[in-house]
């Protein structure tokens, strides 16, 4: 038991840190010490103080308040993109595995091709064609983002489909939708949840990248990426203003990755070794 607890320390720490950040960002309107857009030019680029815990930026705005407020956008759009790509990818993957034929062939090829395309270039291209804004940001993240889910769902659904209980369900006349929802999807839930967690971290970094380039969130709204970009010219005088948002993205992405690996690992072992001897690490 002692060994078990110690083995999972990193995983649990990640979950706890993540929970704290999610709560802080969710309740940001009540937690923010100052309005995030309030300027105080007399206090430009000030170091941390009791009034401004993380100091202020180049317009005298409170860094901590902006961090909490900006996190709402970064995290929610990453979450939205994760859910969207997860549902789309799972649907395509499962249907490919069940229907096979041209549907499978088409999406497998599309998958191969999208894997080769540089994500950032596609995102730039979409912004060029559609302009900046929420819809193009979401489309830019979704258009290539569904592929990992589809690959995973297809492989797992293929494996589960060869199990006896699926054949049995088919023989007794269960409709395909029943087989998918009752027999296939429950087996995919764990690994897909792990994948979704991992992808959330990557999407959070991508959202920040687009905002950093000025192609994501537009002023006056800000997020962690755009805060970083705004603070960069003043990095020597106020290093905390670039340290803080970057550390926020890094911490969330790292915790999410650790959690996702943990989930994938647990789900993976249960899927592969159903007899109970779950192998750890």
């Amino acid at each position: 038991m002692d060994v078990l607890v110690r083995k999972h320390t990193a995983g649990w720490a990640a979950v706890v840190i993540l929970a704290i950040i999610v709560l802080a960002v969710t309740f940001a309107p009540w937690l923010m010490p100052h309005p995030p857009a309030q300027q105080n030019l007399a206090l430009r680029l000030s170091p941390p103080s009791l009034n401004h815990w993380l100091g202020t930026d180049h317009l005298g705005r409170d860094t901590l308040s902006r961090l909490l407020d900006g996190g709402r956008f970064s995290m929610s759009i990453a979450a939205l993109a994760t859910i969207l790509t997860g549902l789309l990818g799972t649907a395509i993957g499962v249907i490919s595995a069940r229907r096979r034929g041209w549907f499978d062939e088409f999406f497998t090829r599309t998958n191969d091709v999208l894997l080769a395309l540089p994500e950032m270039v596609i995102a730039l291209f979409i912004v060029a064609a559609m302009g900046t804004g929420f819809p193009s940001l979401l489309l830019a993240l979704t258009i290539t983002g569904w592929t990992p889910f589809a690959r995973l769902a297809r492989t797992l659904a293929y494996d589960v489909s060869s199990e006896g209980f699926v054949e049995a369900a088919k023989v007794v006349g269960c409709p395909p939708s029943f087989i998918i929802f009752r027999h296939i999807l429950p087996h995919l839930a764990g690994p897909l949840l792990g994948q979704a967690t991992l992808r959330f971290g990557q999407l959070l970094i991508s959202v920040g990248a687009l905002s950093y380039l000025g192609l994501g969130v537009q002023p006056p709204q800000s997020d962690w990426g755009s805060m970083l970009a705004a603070a960069q010219p003043y990095s020597e005088r106020a290093p905390l203003a670039i340290l803080a948002p970057g550390l926020a993205i890094f911490t969330v992405a790292l915790c999410v990755t650790l959690t996702g690996q943990r989930i994938s690992h647990m789900a993976g072992s249960r899927l592969l070794i159903p007899t109970g001897t779950v192998k750890d690490d």
Binding site: V113, F125, A129, I205, A209
Partner: protein, 313 residues
């Protein structure tokens, strides 16, 4: 093998053609008059009066059906005529090609640096599996996955360019100016390469033929070098190619931060300035290169791996 090559090549051609159709459509789906936008990318002088626009539109065939216009555009594109930049008013191809050379060298340097660092790390971790060395290497390199380039880069600039003043903070003018961009770009591949090398090596170490080689009297280092390393690192060929394609996109951020005059910077400027011909040329070239490299890696992987039936011909 032949059918494999044929199928992959067909997929490659289709992919690039589909991408080119999407790119061709940009002037038509973005706000504004497509005819004026296209004329601006074909004629160097400023055309304003309606009669000459009409005349040019006729002579350039802009009233033809879109498929006809697409084929004409594709034909010009393939012969290196990508039109004129809306901003600089010079041929796009003259801007794209030098930028491509810069980006390709940046990506190759970053991949080379990543390989030099991560292969020894991954092999060491695998040979010390489960011990402290393995845990330290694995933990540190895995945390790199979560490191955003746009955070690492300003921090590197702050430390090495502003505080220590040992490296330039921007530009692409000599070896010193390449250190920070290459280091930033290499970080994430290091993470993935180390992990892939480690797991590949662990699988290869457990294979029966390694025991067989040992029982034939090969020493442990000989067995590792002859039988484990080649098998364990084989999966990395595909990974390198995938990352080559990935870094072509990933270099956008790095090029913008460090003012490297490459494709990423070019595309970024093109998007900011709504320079449609420049963005079109840049996207098609990058996408074509990425798809070609990935497909080539599939072929190499197929050739190197005898289990996939890799015989030439």
């Amino acid at each position: 093998m032949i059918s494999f090559i044929a199928r992959r090549t067909a997929a490659l051609v289709v992919a690039v053609l589909l991408a080119s159709i999407a790119v061709f459509m940009v002037p038509y789906v973005t706000p504004g008059d497509p005819v004026r936008k296209i004329i601006r990318s074909r004629v160097a002088g400023d055309v304003v009066d309606a009669s000459s626009i009409q005349a040019l539109s006729d002579s350039l065939g802009l009233q033809d059906p879109l498929p006809v216009q697409y084929l004409r555009w594709l034909g010009r594109f393939c012969t290196g005529d990508m039109g004129l930049s809306h901003i600089s008013r010079t041929p796009v191809v003259e801007q794209v090609m030098p930028a491509l050379a810069v980006t390709v060298s940046l990506v190759i340097l970053a991949l080379g640096a990543a390989a030099l660092i991560s292969l020894p790390l991954g092999i060491t971790a695998a040979l010390r599996e489960g011990r402290r060395t393995d845990k330290i290497i694995t933990t540190i390199t895995q945390s790199f996955i979560a490191m955003p380039e746009y955070w690492l880069a300003p921090l590197l600039v702050l430390v090495f360019a502003l505080r220590l003043a040992v490296l330039p903070s921007a530009g692409w003018t000599g070896p010193a100016s390449m250190v920070l961009p290459v280091a930033t770009l290499a970080l994430r591949p290091i993470s993935y390469f180390t992990s892939a090398a480690r797991s590949g090596m662990i699988d290869a170490l457990a294979a029966d033929h390694v025991n067989a080689a040992r029982s034939r009297g090969l020493s442990y280092p000989q067995a590792v070098l002859r039988h484990v390393v080649p098998n364990g690192l084989l999966p990395l060929t595909t990974l390198f190619a995938v990352w080559f394609a990935g870094l072509l996109g990933g270099s956008v951020i790095v090029e913008v931060i460090f003012a490297v005059p490459g494709m990423g910077r070019l595309l970024y400027d093109a998007v900011l300035n709504s320079d449609i011909p420049l963005a079109q040329g840049g996207v098609v070239v990058v996408v074509a290169l990425a798809v070609v490299v990935t497909t080539a890696a599939d072929f190499v992987h197929q050739l190197l791996n005898p289990r996939l039936g890799g015989r030439l011909g």
